[in-house]
């Protein structure tokens, strides 16, 4: 069986082998003894027929032996720094101190107990209703008058050009505004505009 066939075999397998990417992952899990029984026997079957796979297993095993051997030798020749007994006693002290701190802290609120309310329970929905009403009234008051755009005010800057020789800006915030407020009722828009212009001319003269 070549590598491609072995891959195909692995791909058709169910369980853990289905989730492993390639031979190296399968072999690593095999060496670690972490494959389920059925998967393990399938891998052994493949190893029996696939020389490439067997060679990779040998390579992996050799690498493992070198690494673990070196780590073991290193640990054997380098005793741990510090005393184990001292470290263990220190953990014991930490636990005592931690437990004392925890006991000194106020106990957590028991979630089963009802929470104490600052105000009577009926005041909360009442306050919510009042807030909604207030918001509605504010919105209603702020609505623009019919025929006006939102944000349009009674103060306007009108550009008048009486003799078409020079542009002149006139602020209508004073008298003209008064005029607009007092006399515009009952007139069409064109009439109102005409009367405003006449009023302006009179003021300019």
């Amino acid at each position: 069986m070549n590598v491609g066939e072995a891959h195909a075999t692995i791909a058709t397998m169910q369980s853990l082998l289905d989730h492993l990417d390639g031979h190296d992952a399968v072999l690593l899990m095999y060496l670690a003894g972490e494959l389920p029984g059925e998967d393990r026997s399938r891998v052994e079957q493949m190893l029996g027929t696939d020389q490439t796979m067997r060679a990779r297993l040998d390579e992996l095993r050799a690498a493992h032996d070198v690494v673990t051997g070196a780590l073991a030798r290193h640990d054997a020749t380098h005793p741990l720094t510090g005393s184990e007994a001292a470290a263990v006693r220190q953990v014991g002290r930490m636990v005592r101190s931690w437990h004392a701190d925890r006991a000194a802290r106020p106990a957590h609120r028991d979630l089963a107990q009802p929470r104490m309310l600052r105000f009577p329970y009926w005041s909360y929905p009442l306050a919510a209703a009042a807030a909604v009403t207030l918001a509605f009234v504010t919105w209603y008051v702020m609505l623009p008058e019919p025929g006006k755009l939102p944000g349009e005010s009674n103060v306007a800057m009108v550009e008048v050009n009486p003799d078409s020789s020079a542009a002149e800006s006139i602020d209508l915030s004073g008298d003209a505004a008064q005029f607009a407020l007092s006399d515009s009722s009952g007139l069409s828009e064109a009439e109102t505009e005409l009367r405003q212009l006449q009023f302006i001319r009179e003021n300019m003269q």
Binding site: A32, V67, T68, A70, L80, T81, V88, V95
Partner: protein, 197 residues
């Protein structure tokens, strides 16, 4: 610590030896002796793991203390039923997080130093990838230090904690295939570095 890639057979349950999870429960109640038993049980493996990862005995001891402090701080949140690998995996995860914090701060330092080197234009002696003239044991240390951090973590976790690959993947928050890939690369690279004359 296991010297084999293969997992050790499941331990025979000894009723006189309390499990990690039972000790953790006693520890939560404030029993210092339970903490001492756990500390003794994992002292060598955890300290060796930290030493190999950070490459400094002094720093490893400091991180070991920090690990136990974190264990106590978060003990209320430890749930043995939902943690794959139980208390041991949880303990090694905390230790790994401590090391990650160190690496992050080292990374910032390294960046700052590299910036400084560009300014003063001083070329430090090249650390090189060859390990020559050092003894076999020191060679290992140097070789481990040449591994990328994520490969080093998987290799050393596997060796010192004896956790399963599935548990290691979960501990590191990566897919199983990623953990296996890192382990494979780490072993081949170490073998190559160790075989160099």
């Amino acid at each position: 610590m296991t010297l084999s890639l293969r997992n050790p057979p499941p331990p025979v349950v000894d009723v006189t030896v309390p499990s990690d999870e039972a000790l953790a429960a006693r520890l939560r109640e404030g029993d210092p002796s339970a903490g001492e038993v756990l500390a003794k049980r994992y002292h060598a493996a955890l300290l060796r793991y930290l030493q190999r990862l950070v490459g400094s005995d002094h720093l490893a001891e400091e991180l070991l203390q920090q690990t136990w402090l974190s264990v106590l701080d978060h003990l209320d949140r430890f749930d043995a039923a939902s943690t794959r690998g139980g208390f041991k995996a949880w303990l090694f995860r905390i230790a790994t997080n401590k090391v990650n914090d160190v690496w992050r701060s080292r990374g910032r330092e390294r960046t700052a130093k590299e910036g400084l080197r560009l300014v003063v234009d001083v070329e430090a002696p090249h650390a090189g990838h060859r390990i020559e003239g050092v003894e076999q044991v020191d060679k290992l240390r140097a070789a481990i230090e040449q591994l990328p951090e994520n490969q080093r973590q998987v290799l050393l976790l596997r060796y010192y904690s004896s956790l399963k690959f599935v548990e290691i993947a979960e501990l590191l928050g990566c897919p199983l295939n990623t953990a296996l890939g890192r382990m494979h690369k780490a072993m081949l690279k170490l073998k190559e570095l160790m075989s160099e004359p």
